[in-house]
Structure formats: C-alpha cells, structure tokens
C-alpha cells in the first residue's frame, strides 16, 4: 500500500468517521423519540390524530430518502429555512427514521394482548399508567429487533448525505480520489469495512438483547 493511501485513509477516519457517526447517532435519537411519541399517539385511537400520523408515516416512507435530503437542503432555503449540510442530513434521516420507528412502536404496542390493558384498567389505572407500567415495558422488548435493523439502515443511509456535501466517510473518500483515481478501490474497500465495523456490533447487541429479554 502506498503512503498516499495511508495518508488518505487517515483523513477518512479522522474527519469522515466522526461525521458519519454524528449524523447516524443524531438521526437514531430523533427516530426513537419521534417513533415512541407518534406510536403512542396511534395507541390513543383518536381518528383525527391517527389521520395525521398515518399521513406523516406514509408520506415519509413513500418518498426516496435522497429526495427528502435534497428537499431539506436545497428546497427549504427557498421557503426561508436554511440549514447547514450536517443538520439537513440529520433532519431528513431523522424524520425518515421516525416514520419507520412509528410503525415499529405501533406494531409492538398493538401486539400486546388487550387483556393486559383491560386488567390494568380494571385495577383503576389510568390510560397513561396502563401505557407506561404495563403495555410499553412489554412492547419495548418486541421493538428491539426491528429497531436494530432500523439503526443499521440509518448508518447505511447516512452515506447519502455525501450528495449534499456532508463530509462523511464517503465524501472524504470522494475528495481524496480527485487527485489520485487509483485510490478509489482501496479507499472504498476501507470504508465498507468501517461501515461493517459500526453495524456489526449493533447486530450483535440486538441478538444479545433478544436472548436476554426473551
């Protein structure tokens, strides 16, 4: 391997990796928080609120993530909302993740037998107490595997941010090869390996959590 490769790889890891991790992690937080809130709202079974949440979920899941990112970064400024590259990527990925997470949370909540909330209600617990003490603790276990898949998808999709100029792993590679096209292959293989190193622990964690909570 040439010194040029190692020098480029160093920049990829030092500058690109933290950005990929930042975009991914922030998006996961938005996805989890948004998904929990909207999923619980769905459990209220209020027709008006349902319609709003369903519309959000269907729209966000029905458009390409890259188009959403372009919309936030290139489109919203025309409406007066300016976000820098990284926040734009996080907003788009977070909103997309939240839509998917909403379905995960809703599915898990509705998978808990109705007898559970009925027993809680019969004991005098209010709706929120039934939710927080009885339904969610059981539902959370069922959310773990699909959430881990979503986290992996978020890490992978964070590379789309390169296309709006976010200097993540992929974008730093692209910058490095501008002067030396022979670096394409070794650098791409290198970041594939780095993506794998981020995602594999998530899969391992999922398997362990699943076993422990089964």
């Amino acid at each position: 391997m040439s010194p040029a490769y190692f020098s480029a790889l160093r920049d990829v890891i030092v500058h690109g990796l933290p950005v990929t991790v930042e975009v991914s992690f922030a998006s996961m937080l938005i996805a989890v928080a948004g998904g929990l809130i909207l999923g619980v709202v769905r459990a209220l079974r209020n027709p008006a609120l349902d319609a709003i949440v369903i519309a959000y979920v269907e729209v966000l899941r029905g458009i390409p993530l890259l188009v959403l990112m372009f919309f936030v970064f290139f489109g919203l400024p025309q409406l007066g909302f300016h976000f820098p590259e990284i926040p734009s990527a996080i907003i788009a990925l977070g909103l997309w993740g939240a839509a998917n997470a909403t379905e995960i949370v809703r599915g898990a909540i509705f998978s808990i037998a109705s007898g559970q909330s009925e027993a809680g209600s019969a004991l005098g617990l209010g709706w929120l107490q039934v939710m927080t003490s009885i339904v969610l603790p059981q539902a959370l276990r069922r959310m773990i595997p699909p959430f881990m898949s979503l986290f992996v998808a978020i890490v992978e999709s964070s590379s789309l941010a390169a296309l709006i100029g976010v200097r993540d792993l992929l974008e730093i590679v692209r910058i490095k090869v501008e002067n030396d096209a022979t670096l394409w292959l070794p650098l791409l293989i290198s970041i594939l390996f780095i993506y794998f190193l981020i995602n594999y622990p998530i899969s391992l964690l999922s398997q362990r959590l699943e076993k422990r909570l089964a």
Binding site: A119, A122, L123, G124, Q129, S133
Partner: protein
C-alpha cells in the same frame, strides 16, 4: 342499600344485542352466580359494572355510584370493583408481588413498603407467600389465577367480579381457585361470579341467575333453581350441564 343495582340495562355490539333489558340487584355479602350458555351475555354483565363496557341504556349503580354519570370517574368506580379474568391477565414482566402491589402504589398511592406488606398478606391468604418473587411464567395456571385474585383484593374492593375464573384451568386444578373463592365467600365478600361450575354455584352461591340470549330467564335461591327450575330454557340448560 344494594351493592350493585342494574336496571333495564341494554347493550349492543354493532347489530348484535348482547344485553336486552337486564335488571339485577346484588346485596352486600351476597354471592351471586351467573350461569348460562356461552354467548348469553354473562361476561358483558360484569363488564358493565366496572365500565370496561359502556351501556347503551338503563342504569347501573355500584355502591351508590352511577356508571352512566359522567361526573363519576373510572378510578372511583374501579377502586370499588375487583375483577378476575378467565385468562388471568397477570402482567408477565412483573413478579407475583409486583403484580399485586402495582395498583395499590399507583392508584391508592400507598408507599412501597406498605403495599408490599398488604400484598404479602394477600399472597399468604391465597397460599402463595413463597411464590412472591416468581414471575407468572414460572407459575401454574391455578397459581396465576390465585395471584390475580390477590391482585384484585389488594385494592380493597367492595365487590369482586369473577369472569369464568376457572374456565381456562385444567379440571384437577380448578379446585385450588374455587377454594380461595369459597374462603372469600365465608368472609362475606360480595361477589358476582360468572361460572360453569354448577357444584360451586349451588353450594357457595346465595343467589343464582340463569341468563340466555341477553336476558335473565330465571333467578332466585340456587338450591330452588337447581332442584326445581321453572322456565323451560332453564330446565333444558340444567339437564345438559348437570
């Protein structure tokens, strides 16, 4: 004053009229057993009493509180009414003890230690003191149902509802649950029991109700009805189950 007074209660699920003009009075200390074929509306009667089901017409008064009065809060009604379900419905992520202390802590606002003391006393009462730290999955069906009874009693209800509490149990272990219910009857707990256990209804019940097709066909003293049913439908039902 009656503990539970239902008058002209009607309830339909869609076009299915489940309760047609049900009037039933249960006095304090009574053990009222409701029998009848499946689909006759027995369970729905219980669910109207603690508002798990809202009624379409008529009135239900529970210990002086009207279930149709919007000013009466769910919690005030449900604190007075304990319920035991066919499928136990224990909370699987909590130990037996936690199942019993949950509502006293959250609803009655008892401190942890006080709730646990009461819970241990109730678990002892149903013969499961040594199972307090076990999870429902580690308990047999009969043990789970006894925990569920302790859980309902922990709210110190004025009336206990049993919705086919032994129907999901193997015949050889229904006895342990019925024994607990017998003890409660001996302590003058007011109970309304939907059951297929005719022997229990006859021996422990003080008031028997036979329902069919959403109406009360016949009611009275258990012994009288079992020995000398008046209505044809009661006779036909009893001849099948006895």
């Amino acid at each position: 004053m009656a503990m539970v007074a239902m008058s002209h209660v009607r309830k339909a699920f869609g076009s299915n009229e489940v309760l047609k003009d049900i009037s039933l009075t249960v006095d304090p200390d009574e053990v009222c057993c409701i029998i009848g074929p499946s689909g006759s509306g027995k369970s729905t009667v219980l669910r109207c009493i603690n508002r798990l089901v809202s009624i379409d017409g008529g009135e239900v008064i529970v210990d002086g509180l009207s279930v149709t009065d919007p000013k009466v809060k769910d919690v005030d009604l449900r604190r007075r009414v304990g319920m035991v379900f066919q499928q136990f419905n224990l909370f699987p992520h909590m130990t037996a003890l936690q199942n019993v202390t949950l509502a006293p802590r959250k609803v009655r606002g008892l401190a942890g230690a006080q709730a646990e003391e009461t819970a241990m006393r109730l678990l002892a009462k149903v013969g499961l003191r040594e199972k307090a730290q076990e999870y429902p999955a580690q308990l047999s069906g009969g043990q789970q149902q006894r925990v569920a009874i302790a859980r309902a009693l922990a709210m110190e209800p004025k009336v206990m509802l049993f919705d086919e509490a032994t129907s999901a149990l193997d015949p050889e272990i229904t006895g342990e649950v019925l024994a607990v219910m017998r003890d409660l009857a001996a302590e003058h707990t007011t109970m309304i029991i939907v059951t297929h256990e005719m022997g229990f209804a006859r021996e422990v019940g003080t008031h028997l109700v036979f329902m069919d097709g959403g109406v009360i066909v016949e009611e009275g003293a258990p012994r009288a009805i079992f020995e000398n049913p008046q209505a044809e439908r009661t006779k036909a039902f009893l001849s099948k189950v006895l």
